[in-house]
Symmetry: C2
Subunit: 334 residues, 2 copies
């Protein structure tokens, strides 16, 4: 008989059906992609080609010999132009498309993978995230800032050059409102942060942990919505990514790199999304919300059942996937 688990943070229900279960190694992608060149003459993100892209640069780490650059998205979903104006209300509520949509160019070279960056390269990228996050936080028209990365076509990107994105939204997306709502109810009922309680319990139980450092913990949630879905949480309670301390940032680089390397070597460079889920800008110092990074490998496609019912089917047991990832042998850095 299958077991249905509730993800207490997202409130989603996930079916773990033994008949449909796969062993972790069955998710391994055995068809590696063709290798990419280190440089492409027509790629505006390659070092030396900055002139190809006439979008505004908002940050550069390292001068001419830059390591990380941040630019406005060439085809932005939102623009930092004009004003944020809400109109309508009632059943026709709209807002002008004011906002930020930036691209973080993670590395000057075309053919690099986040999973294979050195820890100091990852730290540079996280520093760029933090600097842009703090800058945009100063704009009071922005209610939510999301940093995310799409790796591979199944994750929704077609660009080869390693990059991530930052979106400054003039609203709070409903799914974040709901997560906040759940967190508030839990805090009101229990006097504790739901995330802190979950973290403490996962660390004690051990079986779903992927890696544990001084400041961070990475684990597969009890009711992971999809195979190898991973959460990385700071162990200290704080709501907003912008309040991260320098020692924590260094530690996060280590943990994020390790987790992505385990996925890369364990599953054969899977497509994935990662999303940094920070608090709404107006709620950045609360007792109830706790920021985190969610990593979603795209190792199986969404079934029709999920689209229809709103329940999830996970074909991999979190305890098994966590064990598998812990056992991955990461080759020494070249």
């Amino acid at each position: 008989m299958s077991e249905i688990r509730q993800n207490v943070i997202t409130k989603d229900w996930v079916i773990f059906a033994p008949e449909r279960a796969k062993r972790p190694h069955e998710f391994v992608d055995t068809q590696p992609l063709p290798p990419l060149p280190v440089y492409r003459a027509n790629c505006p993100f390659c070092r030396g080609n900055e002139y190809l892209d006439n979008t505004t640069e908002t940050l550069r780490l390292g001068g001419d010999n830059w390591q990380v650059r941040v630019v406005h998205n060439k085809f932005p979903a939102l623009r930092p132009i004009g004003e944020r104006i809400r109109s309508g209300g009632g059943i026709y509520h709209s807002v002008t498309g004011f906002g930020y949509h930036e691209v973080i160019i993670e590395h000057p070279e075309h053919n690099r993978h986040f999973a294979l960056f050195s820890v100091s390269e990852v730290e540079n990228i996280l520093t760029a995230y933090l600097l842009r996050y703090r800058q945009i936080l100063a704009d009071h028209r922005i209610e939510t800032i999301v940093i995310f990365k799409n790796h591979g076509s199944k994750a929704g990107t077609s660009l080869e050059h390693p990059h991530s994105q930052l979106a400054g939204l003039p609203i709070v997306p409903f799914h974040l409102r709901m997560r906040i709502d759940v967190a508030i109810r839990y805090f009101d009922d229990n006097g504790q942060c739901l995330f802190c309680d979950t973290i403490a319990d996962e660390i004690e139980k051990e079986k779903r942990i992927i890696t544990l450092s001084h400041h961070f913990v990475a684990f597969i949630p009890y009711a992971a919505l999809s195979p190898f879905h991973i959460w990385i949480f700071p162990r200290r309670h704080f709501s907003c990514f912008s309040n991260i301390q320098p020692a924590e940032l260094t530690d996060l680089a280590l943990v994020l790199q390790e987790v992505l390397a385990r996925l890369y070597w364990g599953l054969g460079n899977p497509d994935y999304n990662f999303i940094l889920r920070s608090s709404p800008t107006g709620e950045r110092d609360t007792e109830y919300y706790h920021w985190y990074i969610s990593i979603v490998p795209r190792v199986n496609r969404t079934a029709g059942f999920e689209l229809g019912t709103g329940m999830y089917i996970n074909t991999s047991l979190p305890e098994d996937s966590a064990q598998f990832l812990r056992d991955v042998v990461i080759p020494p850095f070249p």
Copy 2:
């Protein structure tokens, strides 16, 4: 500048960016699929092959010369065996996988399309939905019943034979809980059903209507989450599909067939999902909830921006798509 609209029923925010907008005809799929045979010897859903499938039949309309059959799913996500037992609570909440997962075989022939069925064939299918819905409603362990159809690989199906599915769930999915919650708040604030207010206003405004009959209305919502996303609502207020009257069922067959035919002829047989969103079984006679059918053509892929931010980008303006669908010329029935 782009416009962000809020879908007041789902509470999702949708970006309509003029730079990314496509004209309706750009969504037309010009690569028709190869034709299918009327019968496949190894298809358990073709008439005459019932013996190939050793799953339980739960309904048959028409005896040996059946028009519609309903069977248990061969690979069920949930089974009507054992008991529904909730355990845990707190941060580890689980339920046994008790439930129903059935397949509605819509037609004895292998190569038929829902969009090309006659109205009486559609009425047969809707009758099968209703009979199974009412039967499963009598099982008090079931909290939600969802009927859905996945057409084509982008919609999550690999089976060729025309079929839809019914799932009887032992829980209420979170997204339905949220929709109910939104509807209750609106009712409490306004003393009206949110859906009835929306329907009345859309009928008055006309510009997003696809078709209007005596008992039903089909329109593209003001903040449609994706291109050609369509809602079909009964004009009479009632919460649960099981309370549909015979004249309404006949009328729904007409409207559903027309809408799917407009999509088929207008967009070149797009992949799509349709979902019948009825009330939770315990709330089937409320003033706040109103059942409906949601049709989601899979004419563009989910962008990384949506996966990351939780906001939607719709590349087609609802008013334009509705106009396009109204103008589709449906060839006479052969």
